[in-house]
Symmetry: C2
Subunit: 406 residues, 2 copies
């Protein structure tokens, strides 16, 4: 079996984390100086590993391997959320690099091709899965024209030009080239840790539905306006949110999640009856039928809310469909996990989105999770034990070999 | 009876509204260039009316009258909320000026003294009722040292110096000088208009209790954190607010009001389970026993909320006690209203705070309301019909004479 070099793996992860280091984490936004430096660093590491790297017009870095044998694509992303962790994305890319090196050093893997990808902007500084969508033929030039940095408004075109990527061709997938795609990632939750497990085999990536719910009432003086004649948009919001929190548990599966992440009242002054209010509400599950049932309930609650004094409008702002992972790949990952960590693995959905859900639209794809200490991610204190980092890569390598040898 | 000159009254109101005009309203924040210009303008109008004006070290303008007869103090404020209306405060001050002029012109009022005050910063740009509190001996030098502009943080001392008021003495009340204090104001609600009434005799100014309620949970990824282990501060907030909205109506009197004017979730991101949340909540009534009962209910609901996964803390940020208006003055106002607008008046509480609640701590005080068109105030479109403006002043003058002749 291809032999992972744990010391080399950890050294590369730490070297990459120094580019844009922030406390014990990393600040490496898409197309920033640090992001581009990390892509150049990765290309050099790929060359050292015998891969032939190329950076394309959206910033994807893909390390190819010559030869005509069966090939597997491994990857993730290397830009980060602002002031975030050192492993989210980076781990999956360095796993791919390490597996490629291990295959190259193992005569038993001769002819088996490992290629490695770092997809641009998985973290959505400018869009949603820009790099993997581009590679899978799902990002048009018009999409690029329309995109801008969500923090500072910089047009994507300007950011690409500043990063030296303007005019460079974009690479697109040849589905016939690959057996499929594997991605490793930190869990970003605490389920593995809480159950003392070391490996998660992802069964599906959840679908999500995001909404902006707008409440229109009448702004009034909070001292002089009798309760009976108020049209308080904040009251309407609280009552709808409370109704959602009461109804959703009755429909939910064990892994269904729903979240109101933002509430604003307008004008937001202590002595003014709010004339407007807004909430952002999302829910996620792996079952499209359940998602439809939740949508129907949300629609019904919004309709009921409109019987009150305020106008309530629910706008679906984004939708992603649940993506089951390839069954045979799941089995290969589970077999590898059972060999290397018997009884310490589980199948589980991914509650977060990943590039694998885009790749899965073109080639068989699957994912493996390693534990996140305390379930923390998108924060500079994000971490995973060295032992789990090394074990996860060994499982990844073993599964990759089994998939290529089928 | 002293004869009000409606044309002169309206002309003065319109002249004052031109200082800091904004659309059909006024932007004249406390101690701004426009505010100070309006105080100088008022002092000149006072001189023209035979009063002896003085501006003191907090910006109060007080127009005194010589003579030893009984005196009544009439007033309100002339600074405005940002981009607000032309009548809130200004009307009460110009009513005082017009009544002083009408008394001076009426031989039947010889020896009856009308004095006029424009209190500084009733609108709370720097504090709460700075001017009337200063006049009533309830504002210390330390209070002034500690105050700052709530919009831009300018220290009150700096604002006073920039307005040319540094080092000027502050005037304080000689309670023996006055029979009492009368204040006229727009209703700032729609109760008079909705009931086709033209005059409101204020029975009491409500007391209010304001709170900041803080919710502490744990911030998490909205996709990867199972519902069962979440400590969602936003959910805790919504559930407490819903419980308040359910409980308070069962305790409330017809005029009790309660308002949540602001809600914030931290960090306020669509895909992050809020780790923190905060709401501003206030209630008002004229009955101190009812206020205590509402406080006890709020305390109980907060205690119950603490049985959930988040820590909930309720901080009382301000308290004002209900202030009954002087019974004899109310009767004088009601008699005058019945004479001039038979059947078109009512007694009613003031749901908003006014300088009269401060003056009432030192001398008998009362208030009269005129209708607000559409109930609108604290907005540039605030307005009252010319007929109602003139009628209100006539009632005010008649009541003043009756009070002084008792």
């Amino acid at each position: 079996m291809p032999k992972i070099d744990g010391t080399r793996l950890l050294a590369d992860l730490r070297a990459l984390a120094r580019i844009g280091a922030y406390k014990t984490g990393v600040h490496r936004p898409t197309y920033s100086k640090e992001d581009m430096e990390s892509r150049e660093w990765l290309m050099q590491r790929m060359r050292d590993a015998g891969l032939e790297p190329e950076m394309d017009g959206i910033g994807n870095v893909i390390g190819r391997t010559p030869g005509n044998g069966p090939k597997l694509l491994l990857g993730s992303h290397i830009e980060t959320q602002p002031h975030a962790g050192w492993l989210d994305g980076a781990m999956g890319v360095i796993y791919g690099l390490e597996v490629a090196r291990a295959f190259a050093a193992d005569p038993a893997c001769a002819g088996l091709g490992i290629e490695v990808a770092a997809w641009a902007d998985e973290e959505g500084h400018f869009g949603n899965f820009l790099g993997s969508k581009s590679f899978c033929g799902q990002l048009s030039e018009a999409d690029i024209d329309a995109s801008a940095n969500k923090y500072d408004g910089t047009p994507l075109r300007d950011a690409l030009a500043a990063a030296g990527l303007a005019g460079r061709p974009r690479l697109t997938i040849d589905p016939g080239r690959y057996r499929g795609y594997l991605e490793a990632h930190i869990e970003q939750g605490a389920d593995l840790e809480n159950n003392s497990l070391r490996i998660g085999v992802v069964s599906a990536i959840v679908g999500s539905r995001q909404h902006r719910i707008v409440f229109e009432g009448v702004q009034n003086h909070a001292g002089t306006t009798k309760m009976a004649i108020r049209k308080d948009a904040g009251v309407a919001l609280v009552q709808l949110a409370a109704a959602i929190y009461e109804s959703f548990p009755r429909l939910a599966a064990p892994r269904t999640v729903w979240t109101c992440g933002r509430i604003t009242l307008d004008p937001g002054s202590p002595s003014i009856v709010p004339g407007g209010a807004e909430m952002l509400f999302q829910f996620r599950d792996t079952d499209p039928v359940l998602l439809d049932s939740l949508s129907a309930t949300l629609d019904r609650l919004v309709a009921e809310a409109n019987a009150g004094p305020c106008k309530v409008t629910c706008i679906r702002t984004s939708t992603s469909v649940p993506t089951p992972m390839d069954a045979a790949f799941q089995q290969a990952l589970e077999n590898a996990a059972e060999t290397l960590a018997a009884g310490l693995h589980q199948r589980m959905p991914s509650g977060a989105g990943h590039d694998a859900q885009i790749l899965a639209t073109r080639i068989p794809s699957a994912m493996v999770f390693v534990p996140s200490i305390g379930g923390i991610s998108h924060h500079w204190s994000e971490n995973t034990s060295d032992e789990d980092l090394v074990l996860g890569c060994a499982v990844f390598a073993k599964a990759a070999k089994n998939i290529l040898l089928r």
